[in-house]
Every structure is written in structure tokens, then in C-alpha cells.
Amino acid sequence: MSPAAVSVTSREGIEVHQFGWPTSIGIPLLAVFVQVFVSKWLGFIKIFDFPLLVTIFFAVARRRPIPGLITGAAIGTLQDVFAGSLIGLNGMANTMIGYLASSLGVRIDVDNPGSRFLMTLSFCLVHRFLYMVIDRGLVGANEPWYWTHTLVSAVANGLMAVVLFAGLDKLKERP
């Protein structure tokens, strides 16, 4: 199957990237692996959310809502499966982030490091908010909201996104 099968170009004048199957599957798996397993030995990694960053990257790069939400749903669900949490918590949150990010990628320039930082910071806050809503509303958990930790995590993820996205840009394939 050609790489075009997993990337759709729809609009003229917008740079749409596509990725090969190994990239499309391997990067999310790697992100989940790092987030779930490596964080056991490297505790500071927990402040990052690599599955979320990968979701944002692929959604913005593909600029298509449906592939973006599918990517988010798959990565989030995979994260829930490996993390041992309730399946669907990160899945729903990442689905909506993937949808929003792909929709946003159509309208603004997301290749600039500054915009990537701000975009990622914003999506991290939104993701955290959605996660809390789902956790409290559906599951009935009563996990407290820590503003400081949330903001620090969002800034850290924004910074990590600038670095990570620059590396992942090398995996983009021109149609």
C-alpha cells in the first residue's frame, strides 16, 4: 500500500504532508512506550505527554479532521491500554485534540516554532481540561485540579513540542 493511502490531500495551496506506514504506526507506539514504560525509570518524563504531542503533530501535519481524530483516538486508546487506566479517558481527550488540531492546522501556520509552542501549550491545557471533565463527569473521580502543575506541564510540553516536531518534520514525505 502506498503512503498516499494514509494521507489525503484536499486543498490547493495548503501544504499537506503524509507519512509512511512505519512512521504512522511506529512513532505513536514509541511515544506510548516512552510515556508508559520509560517513565518508570525516568520520573521527570511524566511531566511530558508524548502521546499527546505525537497526536498534535500528526493532526496538524495532515490537516484533515477525520484522520486527525482517528489518530488521536488510536493513540489515546493505546495509552489507556498500556497505562492500565480506564479505556477511553485519554482516547476521548486525544480524539478531540486531534480533531481540533487538524482543524486548526488548516487555518494557521503551524510550522513556526513559536506558534508550535503556543499551540501545544494551549492544547495541553485543553487536553487536561477535557480529561478532568471526562474523569469527573463520567467516571465520577474527584481528582483535584492543580493549576501550577498544569501550567508547568503545558509549558514543558510546549517546549518539548518545538524540539520534537522539528525532529519529526524529517519524517514527512512530500506527496
Binding site: 479532521p65 477525520i66 486508546t77 482516547g91 467516571v139
Partner: protein, 384 residues
Amino acid sequence: MENFFIRYKNPLVLMAFLVIQVIVLATQVKRPDNSRGSNAEGTRLIRVWTVTAITPFEHALVSTGRFFRNTWHSYVDLHDVRRQNRELREEIDRMRLEQVRLRTDAEQSRRLQALLDFKQRYLGPTVAAQVIGASGSEQARVIYIDKGSRAGIKQDMAVITPDGIVGKVRDVYPLSSQVLLINDRESGAGVIMEGSRLQGVLRGKEMGELRVMDILSDEKVEVGERVITSGGDRIYPKGLPVGTVTAVGPDPDASPFLAVTLKPAADLNRLEDVLVVTKIAEEAPESAGNEAPHRAADILAQRLPTVPKKEENAAPTTAGSGTAGAQPTPPKNNRVNPGQQPDQAGSVVKKSAATTGEVNAKPSPTPKLSRPQPQAGDTEKPPR
């Protein structure tokens, strides 16, 4: 519709993914049940949601079913109620008819009981009869009774009720008879004023009124005075109630006589059961009293000559009749029997031809109206 899915494809896909994940999440989450204690295992969220989502529809379904069931039951009940109502109405109608029948029977029983009492008090033989018809005309005031010649009914027999006289038999058939009422124009009877002892002839008028004729205008007749039969007509037994004076005035057709209007004692318009006097007895009935019936021994004792008491014999003795005590004393209740002349009965009343009810009876040779002379032993008082 197709345009809708195409236009909103992205949000719809997002919603579908979210719904699927919500369902997946709900299958894992268990909501704690506080009612079963803190250690109790909760119910899965998918079950809670499912039940919560289905409950309104289930409730609506049950409510709808209950509504239709109640409606059906109400219809069935209403149908039953209508049927029961119809049956109850029919039963009420039957009971009303039964009530009417019982009331009629009771009324008839009361009338017959009164008739029987009257008949038992009445010494003469009578035949009970029922009124089965009327003339249906204002000109002829007659009725038909269900007894005829086979029952011993003969012409000119008196027909009476416990309240008063009714009339006399005019025509006799084997199984029925025609009775001429006393208020018919052709009818007549000898009557006497109970208080003033004036005698007259009872006649019917065109409008069915009862009027006593042949009373001189200088006589005094009071309204409300009772009138009884005189017995002089040889048809009606003496002393039977005839009626009550309702009006007194000069007779324009026969001056200088009075026209005395009566209200009949018997309700001539509502006759049902009557007695036919087959043989006029020597003793008249008790007209309206509730006294005990006469015994035969008493009647015989009254007829036999008795020795008068001293007070009673004082007058005859002073009259110079030394044999007064040896002569038979007139009966105490010396009544005018139908076949007996008034003078023979010991009455001092001088009767005119009119007073004998000559319309239907034999004429009297001495037509003279006079006030009865009040003397000792006058027996023209109403029979008791």
C-alpha cells in the same frame, strides 16, 4: 439528507468516535452504590446509563399500556354499568308495576273489607258486585255491574255502598245489570233531612247535581245538614246516607218550593265495589257509625212489645188511656219498612206523594208536605 451527512461529515465522525469511547468507558466504570454500603461493588456505568436511558421509554410504554388498559377497562365497566343500569331500570319498572299492583290490591282489599263490614252490619241480604262499566255519556248516568239475574239481581233493587246510596237496578241481564245512578234525571228517591226531619224527593239534574225537591220555601234547611233515605220509595232501605246539603235556594221552576242541592255521600264518579240490596230488611243499616253490629236477639227484643217505664208511661196515663200498658208498644226503632205505610210504622210524619219517591215508586194518595211533628216515640231519626 445526503447533503447533511456530507456537510457535517467531520463532526458526525467525531461524535461517533466519542460515543463509541463513552460506551467503552461506561462498560468499565462502576458507580458505587451507597445504598448497599461502602464496600459493596458498584453497578457498571453502562448498566446505569442503559437503565436510565431505557427507564423513560419503559415508563412511557407502561404508562401508555396502563392508559389503554384503563381506557379499555373503563369502556368495559361503562358497558357493564350501562347494562346494569338498563337492568336496574327494568327492575325498577317491574317493581313500580308490582307496587302499583300491590297498592291496587291493598286498596281493593280495604274497600272490600269496608264493604264486608258494611254488609255484616247490614241485616238484609245483599250481593256484592263490581262496577264494570259506565254509560260514557253525560245524559245517561248509569253504570254496569258484574252481577245479573243469575246472581239474583232483579229490577229496582237498590245499589248502595258503605258511604251511601248509589242508585237502583234498571235493567237486568244474565251476567250483568245496569244501574241508574241517583244523580240521573230519571232517578228519584225519598229522602229526609236528618236534623229537621223534612221529607222530600231526591232528583238528579242535567249536570249531575243532586237536588231535593218539594220542600216548601218557608221551611228552614241549613247547609251542611245530612240527608238520609226515608224508605218511602220502597226501593232504598231507610236511613241510608244520601248526601249533605251544599246549597239552599228558591226553586225557579217550582215556586214556592226550595231547591236543596246535595253533595252525594257516595262518590258516584269513583264507584268500584257496590252492594245490591236483594231484599230490604226490616232493620236499616248503620249509615256511618262504627258501632257494633246489631244482634238478632236485640232486634227481636226491640220488635217485641215491652212494658214501658214509669216515666215513659206517665204521658199515656195522664191521657186517660187505662189500657195503655196492655197495648203493645211500638218498637223503639220504629222504622218505615218499604212495604209498610208510614202510618202503619208508627211514624207521625205525614208523607206527601212526593216524599215517597214516586218517580220510581208507588204514588202516595195524600200529596202533602209538612214538618214532622215532634212526638214521643218518633222513630224517624237516622238508624243506628
